[in-house]
Amino acid sequence: MISLTGYMVVSAGLFCIGLYMIVSKHNAIQILIGIELMLNAAILNLVAFGRYDRFNNGGQMFALYAIVLAAATTAVALAIILNVYRQYKTIDPGKIDELKD
């Protein structure tokens, strides 16, 4: 039986990898992947904590819901990235800084 701590550690690792990708990558798609990783870390937590709710399986349910939402968000995000590329001919968020003072 894998302990809850093991899940939590994996989840924290995933979250940190995602966070690092978001902060450090120069490609919007990779950032999007980082977001997905963080989302999945959260979903993993939901599933792991789901064992305390065996009757309703609230954890699993929320996880499914979040996965669907994540897929939709990703679609929207990719569309935005596509539009950003059209506008700026780049998807490096570091170079899209026209809003600065």
Partner: protein, 687 residues
Amino acid sequence: MEQFLQAIDTQTIIFTLTAVLLPLLAFVLNITMRGRWDKISGWVSTVAILLSCILSGFVFARVWNGHPVHQQLLWFTIGNTQLYAGILLNNLSVLMLLLVSVIALPVHIYSTAYMKDDEHYTRYFAFLSFFCFSMLALVVVDNLFLFYISWELVGFSSYLLIGFWFKRHKAIMANKKAFIMNRIGDMGLLIAIMVLFTQYHTFDITQIFADNGLISRSVMKNGLWVSPTGHLPAIWQYIACGGVFLAVAAKSAQFPLHTWLPDAMEGPTSVSALIHAATMVAAGVFLLGRVYPMFNGTELTILAIIGCFTAFMAATIALTQNDLKRILAYSTISQLGYMVMAMGIGAYASSLFHLVTHSFFKALLFLVAGIVIHQMRHINDDNGLGIDPQDIQHMGGLRKKLPFTFIAAIIGGLALVGLPLTSGYLSKDSILIHAFEWADGKGPLFKLIPVFALLTTWLTAFYVARLIVKVFFGELRLLKNTPGIKLHVSDGSWAYKLPLVLLAAGCLFPLFSANPIEFTRSWLFKGFSPAGGFGAESSAYALLPVLVNSLSLLVIYWAWLIYAKQKAGSLLQRGFLYRLSFNAWYFDEIYNNGIIKPVLALGRFTFWFDRIIINGSVNSLARTGILVSKLSSWFDRNIIDGFLNLLVAIVRAIGNFARKFQNGRVQYYLFSMLVIILSLFILKILV
């Protein structure tokens, strides 16, 4: 009858005006036509003065011993004061009118020849006419205001003519000196006129000085000078008299303002004859005659003392001078001293009589001197000797070369000495006799005045004899010293001779009196004496002239011995008295050291004071101001601006720091958010 008289008077006034204005016209013509009329400008002036002379003769014939003519017009009004301009013709003014024009005529004729080669011929005649105008105006005007104007014009034209040869340094110095000395006198006259106006509220000469005029109705009471028109403190009367005296002393070269006249001889000789011998210098005596009633007894005595001292002093100076014209100049001062003294002792008629006769013989002597100097200059220029043509030590023996001039000089000289048959005898003896009469019954000190006057007569005889002997007798010393020089000497043309004849005629007695011995018979003397006045028969001094003249003859003989026969001559060339006389009693030195040098020193001191102290303080003030402003500028720039700049820098630094966060990079925002949240958490754990 009344109307007829008035018409005659008006005609007389018109004649007078024309006589006065003709020389002015000549002046204007000569000034405006300069360059075109150069040849005839002399004749323009001469014709003008000739016409003036004829008209003056008419006026004289009408007014002399008749009723005085006085007409005036309202000139202008200031406040309540009405100023009239007019002409006053009485015995005094018509006599002077005639005298001035009669002396001026021969001088003009003489000048046409004398100044012929001068490059400023036209300017000379313009000035000469201007002088004649001023002088004629001076004698006929009827109020003190116009009198003062003419007085200034006379002084100014004299100044112009003394400095006529303006390239000569000495001439410039001389005319400056004459001008300054005359300014002192003018100041006196101005003060006197102002005092009289304050007292009498009028400038009119008749109203003030007539027989029953304002002066004669004024009295001194309790230290006040009371007149019908008001009263002033008594001191003002003395100030007015002192002012008039200063004016007389400056114009007529009396001590202490006499030193300008010898220097004035730098002008052309013909000018010296007219202005500085015959007419202008007599203006002072004329002024005395005009304002005579204003002097009281003490003031008259002072006048007499000054006149007597001047006469004596100038005569002693004339004894040793070597410059022909300076001798005559000192002689003029001496004779003017006689006139002033005569005024002072109350011999009004004698003084004016002497004025007239002196004008003739002194003008004659100056014209003679002009001829002699002219010929000496010819000799000098022909032979290139480089001597002073006016120095009588080079002359001598000119009797044979210039016979005509010699005779004229003898007549003029005898008249100046005052020997019988000349006009000078009549006038000078009348002064001497009056002086003795006056001193009678006064203290012994008063006797000194006639005694010195008498001494002066003999001194006059001596220097005149010395002059004539040195110039005309003996051998030409120039020829003796530098033998072999060429001499082309002659009396000159008719333009030289005619004036001499005219003036020489005026030096002899018939012009003035049918009787060559008694001055009281002279028409001129009678014209100024009250009826039934002084008679020689009543005088205890009737025999005085005999004594005077016999001694004069002795003196002349003595001078002849000394200078012609060269006996006892060297005795006089030494000693303190000789030096005193030769240096003109050191008056110039005294004035130089006593007045001019201190004044110049004062000027230099004030200049120094101005430059160092006043300018210095202003400059140091300026420097202090600059320093202060520099300091405040530094303070402004560094402290005040610096403070503001510091604020700005701080704000900018903060701003720059803050804007680093606004770099528009999404990831960075996220990262900073992360850092903040993490630090919050860490803080929370730690605290």
